[in-house]
């Protein structure tokens, strides 16, 4: 049960309604954010950029999103992003490796290096070493590591938000 109101399209502030889908539906996360439309106007475009495809492909973005959500134990984000990750091209075997529920062998060396970076940043950022940074930069450019690190931090913020407010996780097929 959400600790926040989840307004429908017609209950939402006018400037928040543009973030609902054409059929008037929206995710529970979007509906909860509609309570603060000013914030939404800044946050939603940012999320679109940080989660969207760039020089970093979508499977890699989803890999980071799922891994961080798994580490933070966010039911909402895991349920919302598993189907998106599959649609982006990650296999069930890779998903199990990302979520730590199966062997990581299905992941290539680049993805394993990124996961090692994301794990350290999410669980113990002061523990990042020069060696870990150098190892990660063997696989991604500086600007890409910046983007992935900002993505990881953003996902932690969303994980905390969804968990603290008990935003109801989407059911399969939603």
């Amino acid at each position: 049960m959400s600790r926040l109101p989840l307004p429908s399209h017609d209950q939402a502030p006018p400037l928040a309604r543009g973030w609902y889908r054409p059929d008037g539906c929206a995710s529970a996360l979007t509906r909860s954010l509609a309570n603060a439309p000013d914030l939404m106007e800044t946050l939603m475009p940012f999320l679109g950029v940080i989660m969207g495809e760039s020089s970093i492909d979508l499977p890699t973005k989803e890999l980071v999103i799922l891994r961080v959500s798994q580490l933070n134990g966010c039911r909402y984000c895991l349920a919302a992003h598993r189907p998106i990750a599959r649609a982006a091209g990650l296999s069930d075997e890779q998903l199990e490796g990302i979520c730590g529920t199966g062997p990581g062998g299905a992941l290539d060396e680049r993805h394993r290096a990124i996961l090692a970076w994301v794990d350290q940043v999410t669980l113990d950022a002061p523990g990042v070493t020069d060696q870990l940074a150098a190892q990660t930069l063997d696989h991604v450019r500086d600007d890409e590591l910046i983007e992935l690190t900002v993505l990881a931090g953003t996902i932690t913020m969303l994980n905390q938000y969804c968990t603290a407010f008990d935003i109801p996780a989407p059911e399969a097929g939603q």
Partner: protein
């Protein structure tokens, strides 16, 4: 700022928004009217109010943006002890009307209002019937008598008085008699506003009033302690929670920030039916 001011000027000129800035001084009230949009009463938990400094600053910024007048509402504005001086500050910048139930006008308070006579300033008093029992049924015990007492005393202090009647069950005969009454009190027809109960807030809980469609009310930038809203019928409260369906912005400082978002919403609205419905 210039762009927002230009767009506001155009919107006012083409009739798609009103030229008044509304300020919700407080949600606190000494009455608990059955149709109150904001569930105001003496016993509300959160009296949320604008400070006098915030109200004066908003009025100044409104003038810079091209708005031409200010309305002060609530709640009951005169629950706030500093209201007469705050009104003088605002009225020195823009023509001002303050909405009130007129039940708190003691002689000392009237004396503090007297300096406002030099400005374009009016007190708009709610009065719903020419019959005390009918009026008091909606607005509380002894309300009619207090209003009848306040009107001549305000006018004696040089204060312009307007009457606002909120229509729910009144007959045409009753409204006709009410007009005779306000004329007898020296208040011309142009200073008598008649509008419907709007089915929001406490009125919605009680099943009173008319439903508002998106084009039924002329948009007028409305500032409360909860944020900026699309019109003065928007920041309603139901079961203690402020409705957000007509929330423009939670940020109201600077006013340009809220005005910019307001004008973006207004420019997306279809032409209104507010003139027909007389909900202003």
């Amino acid at each position: 700022m210039t762009d927002t001011r230009d767009r506001i000027r155009e919107a006012i000129a083409d009739g798609s928004m009103g030229e008044r800035l509304w300020l919700y001084a407080t949600y606190h009230c000494n009455l608990a009217c059955v149709y109150c949009l904001t569930e105001s009463s003496p016993r509300i938990d959160r009296r949320r109010m604008l400070t006098p400094e915030a109200m004066a600053r908003a009025a100044g910024e409104a003038a810079d943006l091209g708005l031409t007048c200010v309305g002060i509402t609530g709640g009951e504005a005169f629950m706030l002890p500093w209201m007469p001086e705050a009104l003088a500050d605002i009225a020195s910048v823009l023509p001002t009307v303050v909405l009130t139930n007129a039940t708190l006008f003691t002689p000392p308070l009237l004396d503090r209002l007297a300096p406002l006579a030099r400005y374009d300033f009016a007190v708009q008093i709610s009065l719903d019937s020419d019959q005390p029992s009918r009026n008091d049924e909606l607005r509380g015990p002894r309300n009619f008598a207090r209003v009848m007492d306040a009107i001549p005393r305000l006018r004696d202090h040089g204060i312009r008085v307007r009457i606002a009647t909120t229509v729910e069950h009144q007959t045409e005969d009753e409204l006709g008699r009410l007009c005779e009454l306000h004329r007898a009190l020296g208040i011309p027809d142009d200073d008598h506003v008649v509008r419907s109960v709007v089915r929001r807030g406490r009125a919605a809980v009680a099943g009173l009033g008319v439903d508002l469609g998106p084009t039924d009310v002329l948009p007028e930038l409305t500032i409360t302690a909860d944020g900026a809203f699309l019109h003065p019928f928007a920041p309603t409260v139901r079961h203690g929670r402020t409705d957000i369906d007509l929330l423009v912005s939670r940020q109201t400082t600077p006013l340009t920030h809220a005005a910019d978002k307001f004008i973006r919403i207004v420019s997306g609205l279809p032409a209104g039916a507010d003139v027909v419905r007389n909900i202003r």
